[in-house]
């Protein structure tokens, strides 16, 4: 079959026996699940037996692109890594831009599926049709920067690399996969890679992509570029400030969590805000492939204790996690902490969250100075950095904290479970849902746990034309459900979520139809059904793995403790009402299981 947009092939690499196999992408699979997240969900659901150890050889690691990945469409750099998460024990898809997705597609594959476990450290080398396992003993123990450098020196600068650092090698549950400074960060995919003795993948592709209706596609792409350029966010603020464009107003709205979600407003904004980042630290703008927005930044510290430290970023989430979450007001320290996480291969959002948790444990007496080695109070920047270093090096208290906040709190005990800010084991990011109730429902029902990237109602509750009252439950269930379905589509196409601030679904449909020529993709309604199918499939995956429906919840603090100050003062999240409505709208039963009629309707 002639494929347009898709490469039409799936590459299976078995690390246990060193074999690989190229299989055809089934047209029905593409039509039903699009690509990216949807494709990976169908592969994992079919091939991974339930109940497997996420760090065992049976777990699969799927690197999947979408039909739009590597095309001219704006922000079409994206791809996902999917697996069973060692952090949550549930479904995980982690999305990143950069250049890896483009290279995999150009090498001729829609997805790379890694199975088994190598006896010795290896890396996978892909050059179009040529696929090899190469020894990686000399790379084991190296950080991600050194690993990238060594592999690029060996193979050439055009080869794209994704690698784990020492955290992944140790199988720490917060370990990330880093690809040229972009992170498949959340949920511990780096630990799965480490469990397979897989240090890196190196890809070079030289093929092109067929386009069904070239002229139409180019016309839609031009229109999309124009929309992105004229939108105040994608055409202005996001390029100038990076993802921290939202920093000050999130705090102004009382949604920026402070000191492990204990306070409603951060007072350190004189030294930490988007303006200071831009004027003092950003040295260069960077973009993922095919992206006119260029929200990526290269930041460097020019003076002070952290002089000379640099990072690509820091992203808004990490300015929070190493800022307000730890009570730190030094942006230099934020940049250094993020650098450490990138180098050792860790999820910076979760690492900052768990450091804030440890600070609360210390202040409440659940962790002592003897256990930590030093006092660990909120606002103590040096102690924060020491703890990040300990996590990165897997030493002392860091060894425990690197397994995530849920596991750490279970081990520490002494009531610390109620300070562990996670959903289903994944650490919460940088939004306090007591200031935007919809965000609470989005966290509780996210298919990978505490995450803001399955639905981000903040835009509608706080920042947009205020279409939804942040302190009302009205419309929240409906909105979250439809945004989750939409984002499942975007994550399956290979587009960046930021593009959706500017692009309508109609424009996306236009590009996709002209690119692929597939009738099943020619309307927004059809794509939304696919999105709903994908979200139900990841739900089925989680239920099959034994997820208790009661875990569709929030940390007790957000349900019962009122904030004393800020715009959200006096609020707690009325989750039950929204959750009940959400299950009804999704056609899930009271225990959150999709009803047979819904599954039948979706062809599942």
């Amino acid at each position: 079959m002639q494929w347009f947009g898709y490469a039409g092939k799936l590459l299976y690499v078995n690390l246990s026996n060193g074999n690989y196999e190229v299989k055809e992408l089934a047209p029905e699979q593409a039509k039903k699940y699009l690509g990216g997240k949807g494709l990976a969900a169908s592969i994992l659901y079919d091939r991974l037996q339930p109940g497997q150890d996420p760090l065992g050889p049976e777990n699969l690691l799927v690197f999947a692109t979408g039909p739009l990945t590597a095309t001219l469409a704006p922000t079409s750099s994206r791809m996902i890594v999917a697996t069973k998460s060692p952090l949550t024990g549930l479904w995980l898809d982690s999305n990143a831009g950069g250049f890896l997705g483009r290279e995999i597609k150009f090498a001729g594959y829609d997805a790379l599926i890694v199975e088994g476990k190598s006896l010795e450290p290896v890396y996978i080398l892909i050059e179009d049709d040529r696929v090899e396992l190469r020894p990686a003993n000399n790379l084991w123990g190296k950080d991600t920067f050194e690993t990238h450098q060594t592999l690029k020196e060996l193979h050439g600068p055009d080869y794209r690399v994704a690698a784990i650092g020492q955290a992944g090698e140790r199988m720490d549950k917060l370990a990330a996969i880093i690809s040229e400074a972009r992170a498949f960060g959340r949920g511990g995919a780096g630990a799965v890679m480490g469990s397979k003795n897989l240090k890196a993948i190196v890809v070079r592709g030289t093929r092109g992509i067929n386009i069904a209706d070239y002229q139409k596609f180019v016309d839609y792409v031009k229109e999309a570029f124009n929309e992105v350029a004229i939108h105040p966010d994608t055409g202005g603020g996001r390029n100038h400030y990076g993802t921290s464009v939202i920093y000050s107003f999130i705090n102004e709205a009382g949604v920026h969590p402070v000191e492990n979600f204990r306070k409603g407003k951060f007072t350190g904004t004189d030294t930490i805000n988007e303006e200071v980042l831009r004027s003092k630290y950003y040295k260069k703008d960077k973009a993922c492939s095919s992206c006119p927005i260029a929200c990526s930044k290269l930041a460097k510290v020019d003076e002070g204790k952290y002089q000379g430290k640099f990072t690509e970023g820091p992203e808004y989430e990490d300015v929070w996690s190493f800022g307000a979450q730890c009570g730190n007001t030094d942006l230099g320290a934020v940049i250094y902490a993020e650098y450490l996480c990138d180098a050792y291969g860790l999820d910076a959002t979760s690492v900052g969250n768990v450091v804030g948790f440890a600070m609360e444990c210390f202040e409440q007496g659940a962790l002592t100075e003897e256990e930590i080695g030093y006092p660990l109070r909120f606002g103590d920047t040096e102690a924060m950095i020491k703890t990040v270093e300990a996590i990165c090096q897997g030493q002392g208290i860091g060894k425990l904290l690197a397994q995530g906040v849920r596991y750490a709190s279970e081990q520490i005990g002494k009531g610390s479970e109620k300070w562990a800010m996670h959903v289903k084991g994944m650490e919460l990011p940088a939004y306090d849902p007591r200031g935007a109730f919809g965000m609470g429902l989005a966290y509780a029902t996210s298919d990978r746990g505490g995450c803001h990237l399955r639905s981000w109602p903040i835009a509608q509750e706080v920042l947009a034309a205020n279409r939804m009252d942040p302190f009302s439950v009205e419309f929240k269930a409906e909105f979250i459900k439809s945004e989750q379905d939409l984002i499942a589509v975007i994550d399956s196409l290979g587009l960046c979520l930021f593009a959706t601030f500017a692009l309508s679904l109609k424009q996306i449909v236009g590009m996709l139809s002209a690119l692929t020529g597939i009738q099943e993709f020619n309307s927004g309604e059809k794509l939304m059904v696919i999105g709903e199918r994908i979200y139900n499939l990841t739900r089925l995956f989680n239920l099959r793995e034994g997820m208790a429906p009661a875990s569709d919840t929030l940390p007790e603090r957000l349900l019962t403790e009122q904030l004393a100050e800020g715009p959200a003062a006096g609020q707690v999240v009325p989750l039950d009402i929204m959750l009940k409505e959400y299950y009804t709208i999704r056609h899930w039963d009271e225990a959150g299981r999709p009803l047979p009629a819904k599954l039948e309707e979706l062809g599942l």
Binding site: P232, G237, A253, L463, N466, E483, F501
Partner: protein, 87 residues
């Protein structure tokens, strides 16, 4: 009647207006107040409310669709926020 309020501009609006935060005396009627602020900072305040930017009143973003006679109080904060919205 006039009131003294704090006015904040965030992200690209701070660049556009050359101001991040200041205290201003404005009419207590919300819509008149934003016209005065718009004129002062050369911002098409009323026309672009809800399409180019939103406003948080004391951190709460209900400003869009307020009653015409909504009254500001002394020491209120109006934060001008560039808009974000899904397509």
């Amino acid at each position: 009647m006039t009131v003294k309020i704090q006015v904040k501009f965030f992200a690209q609006l701070a660049i556009q207006t050359g101001c991040r935060s200041c205290t201003l005396e404005v009419p207590n009627n919300f819509y008149q107040a934003i016209e005065v602020i718009g004129a002062r900072f050369n911002l098409p305040a009323k026309e672009k409310l809800g399409t180019y930017y939103s406003i948080l009143i004391n951190g709460k973003g209900y400003s869009y669709g307020l009653a015409d006679n909504y009254e500001l109080k002394d020491e209120d904060t109006l934060a001008f926020v560039p808009i974000l919205s899904g397509g």
